[in-house]
Symmetry: D2
């Protein structure tokens, strides 16, 4: 299992006329946590891209339990529960002061710069695999 | 069943560095189709808000089957399959030239301006209900 | 002079907690009008990109005169007053029911896919130039 | 003079198909620096809003000198050069590793919850004023 916690502060630009964070932004926050996880296993997404890989989202979902307001400090906990193969799944939980306000998931596959599905890069397989014993 | 088709053109601002529409934007497009559906059953969302109602997203999901590029003309078909009660569910399919490129769903509840769950407004119950025979 | 009028409807996602359209979105709307202008002079931006050109924003400005709310129908009038050379400037005015709510401008230069400034594509010079007599 | 430096990391969601940060996002980054400045003079924007004030953008401008890519670490320096009265102006400079990549400005006025222009809140006048000697 690989896990990371990203901290963020809700931007004014992220709110909508209901007075809370717009629901679409949670996918952006999930992505930020995902990027941080790749940093922490020493496979930064920027380097994956430079090496010709892309990691598009195949599927995403979110449940909104409590609204988040401008300036709220949120934590996004991202978890990779299963050793990634051709596909990769991450689960996310969003917290404010220890209370869960949302959760969600994303599923991904590696593709090359031409958009064709490819095996994950060797470095990623090695680094991520090492954390699944 | 209630259905509507929203046509849109992918904005440059909606693309990302992969060269395609950012996955988070699909939730925005679903919302546009939802707003159009409410127009078509003569319960515009703007009027619902003015009457003190809000219709937040409780849950959302999307599957991305084919990428969409800048300037692509897409159609978002929104469908309400079940007569709405305290909860409402919509399903969405995104098409480009007749080929499905994505699908998804959202679940909603009506709340009042203080954020408390409330029964759907009478006008909505009447208008939507009439379409479910 | 080249002019075009783009019509849009303010999306819920474009509002913020003040209850009106977020000020950053006006740059997106200006871009939509710009894209439509390029269509109308028969030099679609998509084709310019496919031919290896990019038209980044060098400078942008906006003045906000009146707020715009969710669902407002706005018109963005874009005007190219001067025959474009290495640089190109566009001015924009945003209207709601005939009343100006905002205005702004953008300045641009053509670059190639490597980011180097280049002369405008011949087709663009010909098509745009013809409209300046 | 009041000054603050906000650090940020370019999100993938903030890029566009040119491969760089979308120009509209700079207005969001300026806002983040503005919010931080208000924190630092002990007048958090959230508290201003709770007290019934709004600080909308009357005018904004940006010049884009060098593109910023996904994952770039940027610093946004915000400066208030003149003691604010009924109007307030801030200037911004964006840096990457000490090199300026963009600059801009915003102009603001305080309004109340009904949208009417009002004098700045006493606390803000006192706190900001104290820094202009």
């Amino acid at each position: 299992m690989i896990t990371t916690t990203l901290n963020l502060r809700v931007r004014y630009a992220e709110t909508d006329a209901m007075g809370f964070a717009y629901h679409g932004n949670y996918l952006v926050w999930f992505e930020m946590a995902r990027v941080q996880m790749l940093d922490e296993i020493d496979c930064p997404y920027r380097e994956l891209e430079n090496a010709g890989y892309r990691l598009p989202v195949l599927e995403a979902g979110a449940r909104y339990l409590r609204p988040a307001a401008f300036d709220d400090r949120l934590s996004v906990v991202a978890v990779m529960r299963e050793k990634p193969g051709l596909r990769m799944r991450l689960d996310y939980q969003v917290f404010r002061e220890g209370v869960r306000t949302a959760d969600g998931f994303t599923r991904h596959a590696f593709i090359n710069a031409e958009g064709k599905p490819v095996r994950p890069p060797a470095r990623f397989v090695e680094k991520a695999g090492a954390l699944f014993g």
